[in-house]
Homo-oligomer: 519 residues x 2
């Protein structure tokens, strides 16, 4: 077999059976190998930012990496923003990036670039394979990295791809299991939780399960510790039957206020909270200066086992967790806005749905409103780089074909990777996209206000860079142009009806929800 | 004034008066400065790949740099593919990339990344400004770099932007003039051109003017040297009245054959030709092994003066250059395909039009067919990274508001930066976009054939990554969704009528030209 075939066989042998692709000439032998090796599902995306976001959504829902196929440095550049998000969220991905043949690089052909330099910024691990006989082993190394939640990037020169590999493919790669948290750390946490200081447990990481929430709630009941998630945990199980748990606010001033009394902040899979951006006269760190930050577990530690140990040590096993009873709001009428849309969404979320949230300001009312909706998983943007939602919905739907995906998307952020709609149509994915079309970069208007310039009101030039009307974006036309059925809602009644209809049917649909800005 | 204002004033004072923007929080003080400093035109793009391509098109037509405003590492990532093209073409751009405040970087907030690493791959020059009092000087340094055809990237931490700059703005920056080619090199060229060896002058660089073509033709007449452009010169003046000049073919085997007899290859603003990609059993270099490659001038040398010197030394001043007489083909009828579309385009190209070519395979017949059309400038993709055409048309139209821009675009490449259509509508740019909708990555089918796998015929998995029908892309709907009027042509007659109508009117229009693949 040639190098590309041995690479592909090694991926498949390790359960990596989806490849999000946008190939070019240097990947053509990999493309040819797709029909020589069985078991790889190829999902074509029309832009690389779609496929990297899809790999993210897939990994979050499948609990294992997808692979991506990218064309040279520019292809990696196009994928970069969503790889950034994946890296920040410790989301496993195996990127395969074709490069020129090793002997061709010296000629600095037009598409030559320093792929390694670009990759280093968005991958935990980058390696350039040197020969066809090594590529399967190199792939195994990439898989081992991805297995512990890394973005692993393997650069595949064309001659490594087409060359003969006498060693063949590699078999199953041993993956390091989740680490047991040390007794010392558990002791430290117990001491703090049983002290008379004000404690908060903050949880984050790749996946916050319903069971973890219930265990945290028991701990809270037994110790009076507050329990909270980080601002944007990658995935959290929510809705009726799930534990009542706080969420750290996004806005720095609000977050600082939220935890201003905490004396011990115990982190489980979460990072110490910091402001997303710096502002004059606002601290960069969120916790009070005299708060002790105690890192109990990282995202690759065995958090289930840790929480059970804490419950056993504290004797919280018989506590009753606080859970949300099912509470479905009545359908609203009248004007369509972020609040009424949130109510409709809370009304209709079907059992076991997957919510992908990149609705930015318009999404703010939806999270609290859906606390007690039917049980669902909620996916967040972990790295702050927009253009993630539509692609992540693609990946989530491919990983979970029997679950409805609802993608909540801002108009501005939608336009970064709008090409994802085509892949939704091509793969007939069961995704309902709701675009909150407020014709603004609304969050930037808020950020402008915080500069204090011109009393917080943008002048004409600034305003023109923050408003995205003129012309108004018509997402119905764009969706239809990419093969996705679509409707426009301008009243709550229209939105109700369209949500109901879309959720009764399988397959992709888009609702262009015309709303005023939230602020 | 604050740092951002001094930056902006320094740009404007140096004639950099267009900024293609897609800002975020870290750039908000720059945005505020847009209303404090006069003379900067801001052009909002909905995706950063649009704005970097627009900056490219602008610089090529304006002969001076535009600035860009990008948000952090992910914003740069989104812009990367077209910055790659600009770097390869020595196209001047001044990128301003906002970063976190210097003191905030240590907290590794979600949007923190190594901007310098990413930038190094696509910029000739990258610098991170360290304080508000230095930012104007740093901007001047970036302008000096851009002035000699460089992609210059200035990273602007938020506190440098909002901090007070007691030094104020910088004034006019001295730009190194085009260099005079040494007498030794001219002597060397004359010796070769007057030898009995087979010579070819290959010209490239940022702009091949009509006058340069005529001078080359005189030299050819006087010396029997062949004259040729590189495959993709950034900009070339063409059509009736311009000199007859060869173009190096794109396909390596054809290019090798094209110059197989050449003994002296004299390069003026061009690089030694190499194959775009490596293939088993095809050489990486295009010139014959025994051909001497003589680099006479680079893109920053004074090529006009050089050509005049050569004419004087060789005594070619009274030679009659070979020029194309005006030759406008009759309008075709019947099926619409790449050939008939090329004929229609050649028929209609208006005087002084700007053609932006990213039509890939469907564009192949257009270049030869338009040799003797009305005079026009032709812009090429210099770095091979697709998704350049629509954005470059935006920039070209902004630089040349009195000229019609015709953007020839493949369906696959259009989808990388389709958001450019919105900016065309918002700025009411005089652009006719022709999408060649063949529902294939047709060039990749050709590349697959060259792998020899499966007798050159893709299996079902490979085929699914090369075909972009199912669902068919409807560019009329997409364009209308972004505010651009659009029509679909499926016959030559329809295409004729739509071309005529679009060229009679000002403002953006898109023709979705449904064509079979060329091969």
């Amino acid at each position: 077999m040639n190098g590309a075939e041995s690479l592909l066989q090694t991926l498949v042998s390790n359960g990596i059976e989806v490849c999000f692709t946008n190939p070019g000439t240097s990947e053509m032998h990999f493309v040819a190998a797709l029909d020589e090796v069985e078991g790889m599902r190829c999902v074509l995306c029309l832009f690389e930012g779609v496929l990297s976001g899809a790999a993210h959504g897939y990994a979050v829902m499948a609990g294992k990496p997808a692979s991506t196929l990218l064309h040279l440095g520019p292809g990696l550049g196009n994928a970069l923003a969503n790889l950034h998000n994946a890296k920040k969220g410790d989301i496993p991905i195996v990127n395969i990036i074709g490069d020129h043949a090793t002997y061709h690089l010296q000629y600095n052909a037009p598409l030559t670039s320093d792929i390694g330099a670009i990759s280093s910024a968005v991958s935990h691990w980058t390696y350039t394979s040197q020969s066809a006989s090594d590529i399967a082993k190199d792939t195994a190394n990439a898989i081992a990295q991805a297995g512990i939640g890394k973005v692993a990037t393997l650069i595949l020169p064309a001659d490594v791809s087409w060359g003969d590999n006498p060693n063949g493919a590699e078999g199953a790669v041993p993956i390091n299991p989740a680490k047991v948290v040390s007794k010392d750390l558990v002791d430290g946490a117990v001491t703090r939780l049983q002290s008379d200081k004000k404690c908060m447990i903050m949880i984050g990481g790749r996946k916050i399960t319903k069971e973890q929430g219930l265990m945290l709630s028991k701990l809270s009941k037994a110790t009076d510790a507050r329990i909270c998630t980080e601002v944007f945990p990658s995935r959290i199980s929510r809705g009726s039957g799930s534990a009542v748990i706080e969420r750290l606010p996004y806005i720095a001033e609000m977050a600082i206020d939220h935890i201003k009394d905490i004396e011990h902040l115990i982190l489980i899979g979460a990072k110490a909270p910091v402001s997303f951006f710096a502002y004059p006269n606002v601290p960069s760190t969120i916790a009070p200066d005299d708060c002790e930050i105690f890192t109990l577990a990282g995202p690759n530690d065995d958090i289930d086992q840790l929480l059970q140990k804490l419950i056993d040590r504290i004797g919280a096993g018989d506590k009753q967790p606080d859970v949300y009873p099912l509470n479905i709001p009545e359908l609203p009428g009248g004007p369509l806005n972020a609040q009424s849309a949130a109510t409709t969404i809370a009304h209709f979320i079907p059992d076991n749905a997957i919510i992908v949230d990149e609705a930015i300001t318009s999404g703010m009312p939806i999270f609290p409103m859906t606390m007690a909706a039917r049980p669902h998983d909620w996916l967040n943007l972990t790295g702050g780089s927009i253009g993630w939602g539509l692609p992540a919905a693609v990946g989530a739907a491919i990983a979970s074909p029997d679950r409805k995906v609802i993608c909540l998307e801002g108009d501005g952020s939608a336009m970064y990777t709008i090409q994802a709609l085509w892949t939704m149509a091509r793969e007939n994915l069961d995704i309902l996209v709701v675009i909150f079309n407020n014709r603004k970069y609304s969050i930037l208007e808020m950020e402008f206000m915080k500069t204090g310039a011109r009393g917080g009101v943008p002048g004409p030039n600034a305003a023109s860079t923050l408003a995205i009307g003129n012309p108004d974006l018509d997402f119905v036309s764009m969706a239809q142009g990419m093969g996705v059925s679509a409707t426009r809602a301008t009243t709550a009644e229209e939105f109700n009806e369209q949500m109901k209809s879309a959720l009764e049917n399988k397959g992709p649909h888009l609702i262009d929800a015309v709303v005023p800005t939230l602020f």
